[in-house]
Symmetry: C2
Subunit: 212 residues, 2 copies
């Protein structure tokens, strides 16, 4: 496992932040090495107390080709823009978690199924028992990576701009934040769905709620 | 520059998709190599017709330490969850652009200023002329990477689940999509702002509009 100054085992206070950031989202950016260069792809994840489960089949291609290689998984929620008096102090309010290390590529069928359950329930609570669960063929066609949550770091920026007490405060310019909110819309039925099949409660209940 | 099967110069039809995806966002995930392992960090970007400008000072640390090394910049917009009859066909509706190659670290003051202008205006149109622009000291303290838009790829998934005409359609389960929408909120003034300074029109006008 690779260590740098930025990579450290989390103190207990950061652990709660890490879990909160991971639990608030479902899409991560997975960084892997391909032919000596970094490649960053969006994919979905879930977790338990110890492991981050990451879907490793991205755009039809398995990312399990390079066993033993380190990866980096980053989850970021954008809370708004920081609009300061000076361009230099502009920024973004965000919460970001980074998990890194050498992942295990899951091969045990039971563990793979449990990982997929975590991942499915993470994105859509209630969906694992509602939908048809994976059969052995589908399970074999799925690449699932498990990355220890031990090696992780958290970055959080919140609140007002930092130049409110600087010389720039005398410029008389407005400064503050512009919040950004993610929200689930109303479920849209598949056009091929026969009439009379209504969306289940665990989907309907989500419409209008906050995401992120 | 590194080439793989996934890395190709874009045909003209993809170019419009690439620009639309880049223009719909302001936050990217930048993948770099650190001590032989990939590290993925969120940062902000802007662009012109030829270059992607990426802020290379992340969490107080410059990412320009490794000249000549390839990077990967990925921008992803999540449009919703794809809720199929089977767990296997579940997925995400999204638009993602990946730009990669060896970036130039900008050193010329004029080019750096122009890159920062693009980046600032990309995140908040109207802000470059409203806020105080960077002075020479601030410019020197900013790392800005320029990455050619030539080496890029686009992934888009939209619409209903794919199992509407499969054997699973007979399960009688609901299937469809759950849309996810990003929206700007009302501007929040810095608590240190003197009374009587109101938010400028280019900020106020954004509240309630769609993001992503």
């Amino acid at each position: 496992m690779t260590h740098t100054d930025d990579h450290r085992t989390l103190p207990r206070t950061d652990r709660a932040d890490l879990e909160a950031i991971l639990d608030a989202g479902f899409l991560c950016h997975l960084g892997v090495m391909v032919d000596g260069a970094p490649v960053v792809v969006p994919t979905v994840y879930g977790r338990d107390a110890r492991w981050l489960y990451v879907h490793g089949t991205v755009a039809g291609r398995s990312l399990a080709a390079d066993p033993g290689a380190a990866v980096c998984v980053t989850v970021t929620h954008v809370d708004g823009l920081v609009l300061a008096r000076s361009v230099f102090e502009h920024g973004v309010n965000y919460r970001s978690a980074m998990v890194h290390g050498v992942p295990r590529v899951l091969t045990d069928e039971d563990e793979k199924l449990e990982g997929l359950r975590r991942l499915t329930e993470h994105a859509t609570p209630g969906q694992w028992t509602y939908a048809r669960q994976p059969n052995r063929k589908e399970l074999a066609a799925t690449t699932l990576l498990a990355l220890s949550l031990e090696e992780a770091s958290v970055q959080i920026r919140s609140g007002a701009p930092d130049d409110g007490a600087s010389a720039d405060a005398e410029l008389g310019l407005w400064a503050g934040t512009l919040p950004l909110n993610g929200r689930w819309g109303a479920p849209t039925a598949d056009p091929l769905l026969p009439v009379g099949i209504t969306a289940p409660a665990h989907i309907v209940a989500r419409a209008g709620t906050r995401q992120g």
